[in-house]
Symmetry: C2
DNA sequence: ATATATTGAATGAATATTCAGCAAGTATGT
DNA sequence: ACATACTTGCTGAATATTCATTCAATATAT
């Protein structure tokens, strides 16, 4: 149990180093052989996000994912059956994470429509969600979504459900203060703006999360002057 | 000169039909063997845009492009050396076309900052530029751009140059009417919104060019009330 | 011991690239 | 006019490469 691996030692050491930090931190199985099925799946999903962010969709290979996870070539097919399944699971994971974060923000927000809208906008630019790495992975899927119904459904879930909430919040504000604008139109432009800001963050021409968030707030203040200030909902 | 091709007739007929209308309409060489080098390149670029729109970046193959153009398998390597070159030429073409359209819109616009800004916004949602087909092709490249410097440069050209114009136009309007907002922030949110609208048009959940344009106008009117109306610049 | 997770070399399918040859046009010689 | 050589766009079968998938062997856990 102690000797044996003199020859393989180096390779193993390299692998250990490659394992993502998220998984290294204990949890259930940790790493090595002990990792539970679910842990290993998560580890591979994280490696997939890394690869998508680093090399884009077209250049993401199972070999790269396996290397990134510090595991061997056949590992993905063992845990996910196919590359396609891995990619779908990855997108599913990101969609779930986004949805959970979004719902949590709505929970924590106050009762008023203004504070809810404010909270939703803030949530989109939160550290946890709005990473260059994750934005890049989203974008990789977006690029393929139009020609792949499965991806489109998972990406679109984001739009459909959330856009409806935006619309009704905008409608509430309108009813309260009698803004002249059409609620749907405003919700559309707000949502589109935030998506565009995400996109530019990903492309990364010196735009920061803070600036993007500030631009969104500027929009809220100018469209809903009776409800919003630069520092929060009234 | 008349007989000979009895055997190949059918195949040739099919090919002729597949040739895009744009190329069929005379110009220099027309089609068949006569097509000039430049015409053929353009024909292949159009077929590439078709393939990108239909199948996405990852699924676009040279075979599909060749089939779409009604030509044989080796044709792309003959005219472009490599797939990579074809894709770069395609993106270059789209970027040039966009830029030319944009510049033309600026030329035709009036002198005032308000009418220039109005014209630029309208240009983005013009029939010629804003096709589902072309938006899909743009999106295919966007998805790969982050991991490919060449693509990023060509996609980014759009942002850098045009964003600066947006900023100075917004600054002019601010100087004229003393709006309280920061010009850069407003230009950022406006540009991001338009990109986001493009993106949603491509995803196509019932959003139309007209609605997208209307949303942009709503934004202009609400941010620059002293300069814009729903029907045009003051 | 047995079951399970993992490895990594082998396999095969997809597809980019190459290239020898074909055919339509063009120039030159008779 | 006609024949001959030459150029050039194009073809499509052959080749090379990349990569997902498989699976027999191996390591580890219970």
């Amino acid at each position: 149990m102690t000797v044996v691996l003199s020859l393989k030692g180096k390779k193993v050491a390299l692998r250990m180093k490659a394992v993502s930090a998220a998984v290294e931190a204990g949890e259930k199985g940790g790493r090595g052989r002990k990792a539970s099925k679910e842990t290993r799946r998560q580890q591979l999903i994280e490696a997939t996000i890394d690869s998508l962010a680093k090399r884009g969709y077209a250049e993401t290979t199972l070999a790269d994912v396996a290397d990134g996870a510090g595991l061997s070539r056949g590992i993905v097919n063992f845990h996910f059956e196919s590359k396609e399944n891995l990619l779908i699971a990855t997108l599913q994971f990101m969609a779930d994470e986004y949805g959970a974060h979004w719902s949590a923000a709505l929970e924590k927000a106050g009762e008023s429509a203004a504070s809810r809208l404010w909270a939703l906008v803030a949530a989109d630019f939160d550290r946890k969600i709005c990473t260059k790495r994750k934005l890049a992975a989203w974008c990789a899927f977006w690029g393929e979504a139009k020609s792949r119904p499965t991806y489109q459904a998972l990406c679109g879930a984001r739009d459909v459900k959330y856009q409806d909430t935006f619309i009704s919040l905008c409608a509430e504000l309108k009813a309260e203060a009698g803004y002249g604008y059409d609620a749907e139109t405003i919700a559309l432009s707000l949502g589109a703006m935030m998506e565009g800001l995400w996109f530019r963050l990903m492309m990364g021409d010196g735009l920061t999360r803070e600036k993007a968030h500030a631009a969104s707030i500027e929009y809220l203040v100018s469209v809903f002057p009776g409800h919003m200030t630069h520092h929060g909902p009234k």
